[in-house]
Symmetry: D2
């Protein structure tokens, strides 16, 4: 499962650019890791940009859904910004809340790591729609 | 107002990397434009990645809020993915729905341009919290 | 279309209790009206309760979706509370944003009427899933 | 804390009508219970109406926020409808995810009880804004 997700991850140009790695996967759960680069990932204050926050949370939800439902497309995602996204490494953990035939509901949490410390920064929700395999 | 937003936009490393431009601004409304690059902006199927979709919508909402409320931080944003984000250029239009003292509600629409055609792809909502100017 | 929705509306016990009426309907758009009753519809401050706000917005989205997609079930709805819901009559206007085969995206606005004045109070979004007719 | 919430709960006309009871409360967490009445709480298929689903989730989030932040007003809430809301009794559990000075983020789960069985039906998120005490 981990290898399949790593392979899918490598087919996304944006994920390659961001250095996104799939670091854990099991049925209904995944973990993604991304090192912060101030030179091209920051917003106005030097924190992680909302685009990368949303991208990490959406990808964690989509990959978690993928472990139980095959190919999926996100139809909705939302992000709650609990705290400024400041850290050296970002770790997103996604899990399936409910997998139906027509829709999969998933959630994800994004943690900012600085030294040994992990801090929960935003959380996200997504609705994924299973698609027929090509 | 347009020049102020252009200047703020230029301070975000991610916005510079993405080639995001502020193309219109008036009180409560902004337009952003970004050319698609398949080499580093695509997801698995070659469409615009959710991270850039979310980043464009969130930025359009934040800049629209900024035109009426000064510095703001997003506390929540959500995205509805109406159609696959396929296009040569992406145009995000954000507008303020309600500007309160504690919170600003904004909405944005993302259009994909291919040749002369504009197609609405996702829509987004954000809640922005005004912050004291540094 | 209006008569079909009025008939469906009358089959919901909660809608009957709330005195919800379908006052307009055309393809992709509906309007609902409900008179406020302080005796059983208020929250702590005497304003319209969030349950009724959500119920009106969700129903307006669902009925709007129904005009183009037949029977639907809501899988997600969200509400932005722009202003306190104070009024004598509440009017919800829903419209379809995008009707796909698997999902219908709809939006609604809730207006509070006091005398001749209409004020936008919350807005809502819903995702509706078409179901097979029984 | 439980008594304070019970007292606040009793001041809401809608909560009294719905027979909503606060059954547990501690810092950052609450539980609400409501018996289902088909005669005035049902939607078209006889399940619990979205208005009551939203009302229970929003109230559970608001009361959970109230245990740590005093008086609050909801500015946003969203609901994911995982499964049809069918049951004899509904139990909503809300908890604070993050309590900031300007905003409190809370989540809630709604369980449907039938006999001895508890089933998770929808989940919800809310953003609450602390208000000055009157």
């Amino acid at each position: 499962m981990l290898n399949t997700l790593k392979q899918i991850n490598s087919t996304s140009a944006f994920n390659r650019w961001a250095g996104l790695e799939v670091t854990r996967a099991q049925s209904g759960e995944v973990e993604l890791t991304m090192a912060f680069r101030e030179a091209d990932m920051a917003q106005y204050s030097g924190f992680l940009h909302a685009g990368l926050i949303g991208g990490l949370l959406d990808t964690a939800c989509g990959f978690a859904a993928g472990t139980v439902a095959g190919s999926v497309l996100a139809s909705h995602f939302s992000v709650n910004c609990l705290a400024p996204a400041i850290g050296e490494v970002f770790i997103a953990r996604g899990r399936v809340v409910k997998a139906g035939k027509k829709q999969v509901f998933a959630r994800a949490e994004l943690f900012a790591q600085t030294g040994d410390q992990l801090k929960l920064v935003p959380t996200g929700d997504a609705i994924l729609v299973p698609v027929e395999e090509r």
